[in-house]
């Protein structure tokens, strides 16, 4: 029974990367469609507008014609549909609640704070740097001495957070935040995740991400 799986995405999007990593972990074949041709954020394909009429944003997973939106909702969907192989979420409801809690924490905190770090200057940037260090420290404490956030198995929280590892270089270059110095155990976790094929094949070179950010800053006249 041939399934058709399509992912509407943007190469550099950490949210899209969560979906790509989850699909790779499950060995699901899919068609990748790049949105926003020529980095024109207004250039949204008819398929995107039709599949996510509410938010008009990537990523969108289209499974046999039915669209699923919001990256962590997509990851949970992938876990529930392709239930063979390594589970992305724990079986125990309490462990699962904890995974959802930390996934939600990453979702609400990292992107917003990280963006302020590379976008802003002066005091506002310093404030963002302080906040991001606190956020990363909380995550490091949660990781503890475990191999992954879920324990021995790579899963939901790892998937939620790992795309941001490609942004650590940008945080240092733009905001003077050294993840290696501030949260070395978390940095080591990032390197461990990169040993997984699903992550290595999905994340872009941090220099490319930095180039993208510099390009964005120029485009919006932010020096």
């Amino acid at each position: 029974m041939a399934e058709v799986v399509v992912l509407l995405d943007l190469w550099v999007s950490p949210f899209g990367q969560r979906c790509r990593i989850a699909l790779a972990e499950k060995g699901v074949a899919y068609e990748y469609k790049e949105e926003y041709k020529e980095e024109d954020w207004t250039n949204k394909s008819p398929l995107l507008l039709q599949s996510n009429p509410v938010h008009k944003k990537v990523p969108v997973l289209i499974h046999d014609g039915k669209p699923v939106c919001e990256s962590l909702i997509i990851v949970q969907y992938i876990y529930e549909v392709w239930s063979d192989g390594a589970p992305l979420l724990p079986a125990d409801p309490y462990a699962r609640a904890q995974a959802r809690f930390w996934g939600d924490f990453v979702d609400k905190k990292i992107y917003e704070c990280g963006t302020r770090l590379w976008k802003l200057k002066g005091e506002a940037q310093q404030e963002a740097k302080k906040e991001l260090i606190e956020i990363l420290k909380l995550l490091q404490a949660e990781l503890g001495d475990k191999k992954y956030f879920g324990g021995d198995a790579f899963g939901y929280v790892d998937i939620a957070l790992v795309p941001f590892c490609a942004w650590f270089y940008t945080y240092k270059a733009c905001g003077g935040l050294s993840v290696e110095a501030e949260v070395p155990k978390l940095a080591a976790w990032g390197r461990r995740c990169m040993e997984r094929e699903s992550v290595a094949k999905t994340l872009y070179d941090p220099l490319k991400v930095y180039e993208f950010v510099c390009h964005l800053k120029k485009k919006y006249g932010i020096e």
Binding site: C69, I73, Q76, Y77, V81, P93, Y94, R96, A97, R100
Partner: protein, 227 residues
Amino acid sequence: MAEAEQVKVLRSWLSPWSFKVELALKLKGVPHEKVEEDLANKSPLLLASNPIHKKIPVLLHNGKAIPESGIILEYIDETWTNNPILPKAPYERSMARFWSRFIDDKCVGACWMSCWTEGETQQMFMEQARASLRILDDELGERKFFGGESIGLVDISACFLSLWFGVLQEVAGISLINGEEFPNLCRWIEGFVATDAVTECLPPRDELLATFQSKKQAILATKSMVY
């Protein structure tokens, strides 16, 4: 679950978020203890149970602490499997999660801020709220509940729009959710608050109104949802 279960909810009688948890437990027939928190003076139990956000609600199940109302709802559904609040099929589950998130991210905040701002700022929030409510009204359509024939995750998530927002609009002197613009939502509100389980969990309207009226000045100053 043969042995005695201990289920507690750290909550506030004012809060729609702790109402969500209590409604879910009520729908599943799970006996539980409500522990009222003074949000100006948080208990050691609350601070220990939710050290990251220090907020209610927190569900304590045999000593295990689960914070964040949306996460608690999924935990409740997975632990007590009678009267499911989430659909079975993965696609429908993802849609329920999507709309819950939409309500949390796009409706509640804009509706709240519409009440406590003025002039152009208020107009801006009211426009945002209207746009989101329009989308929600369309999504509901002719259905009795977002969950179909019975209350589901999205209905529970939308509870703020029922009693609480009704009271807040009265205190603020605005009328955003009206029958002309949002016929489906108004019909939903009536049906929702009339449901037995909901009636048993809702705080008394007159007390809610009196409390918000007395806290009006404080909220106008900070716009904070913690008052």
